[in-house]
Symmetry: C2
Subunit: 240 residues, 2 copies
């Protein structure tokens, strides 16, 4: 794992196929590349391809299944971390997957924008991440009033913020710092939905009675939009 | 429009095709129904189908293109309505399209859940609604700090809330009131992102200085999650 330029013959078959596929998609276009072309380039039989990938589209996004599994495992181990912080941290796993291969990610982003079938595929994957986050939040909120509604709206907010940061990075050609871009976007979500106003991301935020004496006193115009009220609360307590 | 059982010969060709297609999808399943089956049932030639629908999937959702156009026109005419109220009202157009044909919508919901291709198609449509709302908000927020980010996160929140309410209605088999379910869900979004804390949905909310004297005085634990603070503000001013 330390030498990215290890010889191809040592790489696992799945990786060899994904690399051959992606090279061909860039050279000839996605639609004009057949599975036969891919297996010929990789030097394997046609059935090998379908053993690893259900479709050509799956070969373009070879790491999402693993990342979805990682996200599920991460959330299962999150314990009593503040729920919104947990889902933001879980969504960061997706960013890190992209950021681990900047050149590939940027090229794929450009390819995906040109091929409707790949955009549709990507939407399905994004939806699965969103459902994973929403499912976790639904459990955490349990029977609280509007728990399921809140879970779904927050999951959608987190995914939208993540994708905003990710796209900022991809459009810059990988120039800006990916984590900074996404963390900035998550800031908006954490401030509005999480315990971000207190800047406390530890499990103690919900449980530690010792901080309950700290209060915010807030005066706001009745017709101020809520996000502006939130901004003002932050400025009052010197965070944000 | 008042008699749902009007003779097929009077209905426009597009509608006849969509109805024939949907009947067949329910009878035989989506995958097992061919375009040839549909045109035979509708009593027209094969090329007629593709004149109206690019694909079988499009025949399942015959009204989304019109609804997207309506949404765009609605937003273009929204003037200086508070932006979050404008996008919630625009998203309600989608709900009304579903609610106008409860039986069809409920049957289609069940069909869509069983056919992966239809779910993917639906995701693409939902994405286009979301992009329409986000594009509008991006323009409204202009160069404000994090304007584009806020636009995208709010659009995603509105779509998630809409779909939560819509699903509540669809899962009830059309029993609960659709508008009530969606309005309730929008309430969460308006309270957090819009001027909903004041319950003022008129353009005056941003412009009318006469209300600026009304203030909310708020005391909250520093470590309270922001949504709980918002709930408390609402209870203080007797709204929500």
């Amino acid at each position: 794992m330390t030498d990215a330029r290890r010889p191809a013959k040592k790489a696992p078959m799945r990786e060899v196929l994904a690399e051959a596929a992606f090279q061909l998609f860039l050279e000839r276009g996605f639609e004009r590349t057949t599975v036969d072309d891919i297996v010929a380039r990789a030097g394997v039989g046609r059935r090998s391809f379908f053993r690893y990938f259900p479709s050509k589209e799956d070969a373009v996004f070879p790491d999402h299944e693993r990342c979805l599994a990682d996200m599920t495992a991460f959330l299962a181990a999150a314990g009593d971390v503040e729920p919104v912080d947990a889902v933001c941290d879980a969504a960061s796993l997706v960013l890190r997957m992209y950021a681990a291969n900047p050149e590939f990610s940027v090229q794929r982003y450009r390819l995906t924008r040109e091929v409707p079938g790949l955009r549709t595929y990507e939407l399905s994957v994004v939806r699965r991440y969103e459902q994973t986050l929403a499912g976790y939040l639904r459990e955490r909120y349990g029977d609280a009033r509007d728990g399921a509604l809140r879970a779904e709206v927050i999951a959608a907010s987190v995914v939208a913020a993540h994708n905003n940061g990710l796209r900022t990075w991809l459009r810059s050609g990988g120039e800006v710092d990916a984590e900074t871009a996404v963390d900035h976007a998550f800031g908006l979500v954490r401030r509005v939905w999480g315990s971000g106003a207190a800047g406390d991301v530890s499990p103690r935020s919900a449980d530690d009675g010792s901080a309950d004496g700290d209060v915010v006193v807030m005066v706001a115009a009745k017709n101020a939009p809520m996000w502006r009220v939130v901004q003002q609360i932050e400025s009052v307590i010197g965070q944000g």
